[in-house]
Subunit: 212 residues, 2 copies
């Protein structure tokens, strides 16, 4: 009978149930948890390398990609644990994948879990993973029109990272317009300008993530 | 009975049936048709503005976005017809959306139809729209690792455009690695280096698309 009930709920409902279980589990481990979402190539993994340099074993990372384990390998070299989820073509992570990956992590000294979602501005925004908050990351080369063109993510993100900010002088990116559009979609969003290359904004971001 | 059969086919099968009908329709109109797929912000619409400058009424464009009609408006200003599909949150175009949009286009002088898909490297690759070929576009700021990390698109793309090539001197992007990875995934792919900003590669691309 229980099996029958399980089969009758939608994949989305099933995901949300597991996401709530994940959230409870993460709290038992005393972790702050963020779901990091952006387009491919906005600099998620490079940013995580920089955070790993600062936080070492206080940070653990779950990385989602369609294929390859390149990203987890990169982060591990910088001193934080990282577990890769290969979705095999799937366009977003779901709560079940994250639960299974989490059980492969040792969390003894960890305070912060960042889940690097599949590079995609659309689908990942619709799936709760058990996080405390979503982070939307937008790199300057992508253009200042992305918040209003991809509202589903920016409506749900507590933190917006404007990345590759070092490129501001050579990019035709209207920072004020992008920030204003983000705040129209979510008036409570925090917006940070960050460059993994120059280090701009990394200290503030680290404090935000650690909650200090 | 027919309705019952229709309901029993999957959404994917239904899409493929309509895509084949679209393809037949496009051939009746004498159109060459490309499905242009990339991440958000790789420069699809800017490139289409440049192609519209060159081709004017010989080019028609169907543009997909989650929200807003900004992109179609931009292209129309450059002299080509453009119709916007707002997917209302949907992460890719499907053949039915394209069929409906196509009927809003006047094709009297058109030779080339480009369908600008929703900015997403994953989902659009899985849905045939009735095109002759897929074009994958990768901008240098996204990084040279994207072909192997998003193989589903690069396996299926006949043409790979490496865009924003003007940024090559300041980006840490290994062109030879990216090209080699693209060719490992699809040995028959054509690869072009293009900059909408400087005009590099635009003539060659136009000839390729027009088939001249």
């Amino acid at each position: 009978m229980i099996k029958k009930i399980d089969l009758n709920i939608s994949a989305k409902e099933r995901n949300d149930i597991i996401a709530r279980e994940n959230h409870k589990l993460f709290k038992e481990y005393g972790l702050r948890v963020f779901n990091l979402i952006s387009s491919p190539g906005s600099g998620k993994t490079t940013l995580l390398e920089k955070l790993a340099d600062k936080l070492k074993e206080r940070l653990v990372v779950i990385v989602g990609d369609l294929a390859t384990t390149k990203d987890a390998d990169r982060i591990k070299k910088h001193g934080s644990q990282a577990v890769q989820i290969e979705t095999g073509g799937g366009c977003h992570l779901n709560a079940e994948m994250v639960r299974d990956a989490f059980h492969k992590i040792k969390t003894d000294n960890a305070k912060l879990l960042i889940i690097e979602n599949v590079g995609n501005l659309v689908c990942p925004a619709a799936y709760e993973l058990g996080e405390d908050a979503k982070i939307a990351m937008l790199s300057l080369p992508e253009g200042d029109d992305k918040p209003i063109k991809y509202p589903s993510l920016f409506l749900r993100a507590d933190l917006v990272i404007l990345s590759k900010i070092d490129l501001a002088p050579i990019m035709d990116f209207n920072l004020e317009q992008a920030k204003s559009d983000c705040l129209k979609l979510n008036s409570k969003a925090t917006i940070m300008e960050v460059s993994s290359k120059t280090g701009t904004g990394l200290d503030d971001l680290t404090h935000y993530l650690i909650g200090s």
